[in-house]
Subunit: 356 residues, 2 copies
């Protein structure tokens, strides 16, 4: 069991990582001011873990809000359902919201915590690899609007994050792979040692070896914490976290959301970015092959969908939120364990990189 | 023309107060990063001032969102209308939201600015006395929920506040009086000199003399800035701003929202609080009479509605947001220009204070 502290001055908080943590009240009680708690979860996670968490919190007065599972419910309506449940239970300003679930639940419950009576305490209990390595750090909360993803929200930090590795045991294999795409990303943009660790241990990781998972998730959270600490509100280095995302969002949007999982699209996107790096002469073919091979072993796609042409990519990419003054900004590996944001990549290179 | 700076570290901002300011682009341009601006207003204010402000901002690319006028439209639906308009106009993270209107518009537009893509810039142009002295300082934004007022929102500071005293010329007399209740409040809780200034000049103020209004609004904003600076997130001294509000909310809620204006209910509530102070021996009868007389000259009610009994008050007051651990907390004048928060007031005294 390990604990990492995310250093954000008076908004610093701990991330506890280990086995069976949702059964131990100690990891929760420092972050709960009062007896009143609401657990927000979904109808997939609730049957698996809700009773266990409620049992852990038996000294508290706990109510719950169970939403339908899925990105399409990450809406202002679901947000309002949480708020309504809180009001119906007469929760005051000193209550605590606990998010039990993946990224969608974390984003929804976090935004509800940020907005209820202008802000109450918030604890994250992320139950997927993706949410454990991604939403645990950064403070992004929010909902989708029919005209755009994540268009309504707040930057809001949790009081604590409790990562129970046991929860991964019930995760479908495809979701585990999708989460690993973001894991590999940290190795490519920030930490070559970690990239090598993943190469050496990918089979143990996909078999959910606890020791390996603990190290892996701790390292990802540390890297993200370092990046976010350098750039809390997204001006500079935080953009590196978008490696593979510009191409990936194009794939998700072209194929229809949900057809490719986010992590799958990001994996294919990272391979395209690595191809750009090779074509520009930043890295050699051996490194791009190692990236492809690692992603394949993690169970991820390493090629863009056959049906997508360069033009399909371009059309989707110019609509991306990250476009500044009409320039598409790419995150491109520049050497092992390092990447940079670039916008001066010729069309010719992008076409070749997509072709592979 | 005067400018006050609200000191909140790196979130400090100026409040410009004077005549005709919405016609001068200088007061806006420092707070607008980019060319893209959205003006949020309502269908009462739009015909009066929207074209004038758009004319002032003719160098910018301006879109607008005109909402129906009234507290009952301070909802998540109206908030979503603003967000939708912003998305339909493809506004980016570097856009600016301008609130042109009273408190409802300021709260709605402020919460939209706080939440759009997790936060964009915000300018307040308050057009009523109440919003000029109240919402200009404090950073409270939000919407009502059917189960409670202001239950959803954020603390979010504007980049600048532009107070154009000319806008008060089109305000109904009753609204002017209602705004003056909050003005008198600052004299009672914080500044006896200001209380005396109001006593000497109340007739000129109700006739909207510019010099007097400028001094009055500047002083109210300074006092609120001082109070908020001491207590940005409402733990201590900021509670004094609720003078008259515990009784006032009971009146508003009992009579049905909108039957008594907020300021009218607060005026009657302040008289009850002053009566408590007299009955407790903190102040003499002369002072409470002076408070009543000043409020009357401002065109405000100084007695609770005849139809409300002590029990009606009590029942409403225990449901107030400000109740902590079941104790009703009253703000009571303790001497001229000073008030304190108390919860040990006997039922007997409250009954007598309500009776007058």
């Amino acid at each position: 069991m390990r604990t990492l502290v995310v250093d954000l001055g008076d908004r610093s908080y701990p991330i506890h990582i280990g086995n069976g943590l949702i059964s131990e009240v100690n990891y929760f009680k420092d972050a709960i001011k009062n007896k009143r708690v609401i657990i927000v979860t979904n109808d997939t996670v609730a049957p698996l873990y809700l009773d266990r968490l409620k049992n852990t919190l038996s000294d508290y007065q706990v109510c719950e809000c169970i939403l339908p599972d899925g990105e399409k419910f990450k809406t202002l309506d679901s947000f309002n359902k949480i708020i309504t449940t809180m009001l119906e239970n007469s929760l005051g300003r000193d209550c605590t919201v606990i998010a039990l679930g993946g990224g969608v639940i974390g984003d929804l419950a976090g935004f509800a915590a940020a907005s209820y009576q202008r802000g109450v305490d918030f604890i994250q209990v992320p139950t997927t690899i993706l949410s454990q390595v991604d939403s645990s750090v950064g403070g992004k909360t929010g909902v989708n609007h029919e005209l755009g993803k994540n268009m309504i929200g707040a930057f809001y930090q949790p009081k604590t994050v409790v990562i129970d590795l046991n929860c991964l045991k019930t995760l479908p294999k495809r979701e585990i792979s999708a989460g690993l795409a973001e894991v590999v990303k940290y190795g490519i943009i920030w930490d070559y040692d970690f990239f090598q660790f993943l190469e050496s241990n990918i089979s143990g990781i996909t078999e959910l070896d606890n020791k390996l998972l603990e190290h892996m998730i701790y390292t990802c959270c540390s890297i993200k914490a370092e990046v976010v600490h350098l750039d809390e509100r997204e001006g500079g280095v935080r953009a590196l976290l978008n490696l593979g995302h510009t191409f990936g969002h194009a794939i998700e949007s072209y194929m229809g959301y949900g057809v490719w999982l986010h992590g799958e699209a990001v994996a294919a996107g990272m391979v395209i970015a690595a191809n750009v790096a090779r074509l520009k002469g930043f890295v050699d073919a051996t490194y791009t092959e190692r990236i492809k091979s690692l992603l394949e072993k993690a169970g991820l796609p390493v090629e863009a969908p056959k049906e997508m042409t360069y033009k399909d990519f371009l059309q989707k990419m110019v609509h991306d939120k990250k476009v500044k003054n009409g320039c598409i900004r790419y995150v491109i590996p520049t050497q092992t364990g390092k990447s940079e944001v670039m916008s001066d990549i010729s069309e010719d290179i992008i076409v070749k990189a997509i072709e592979g």
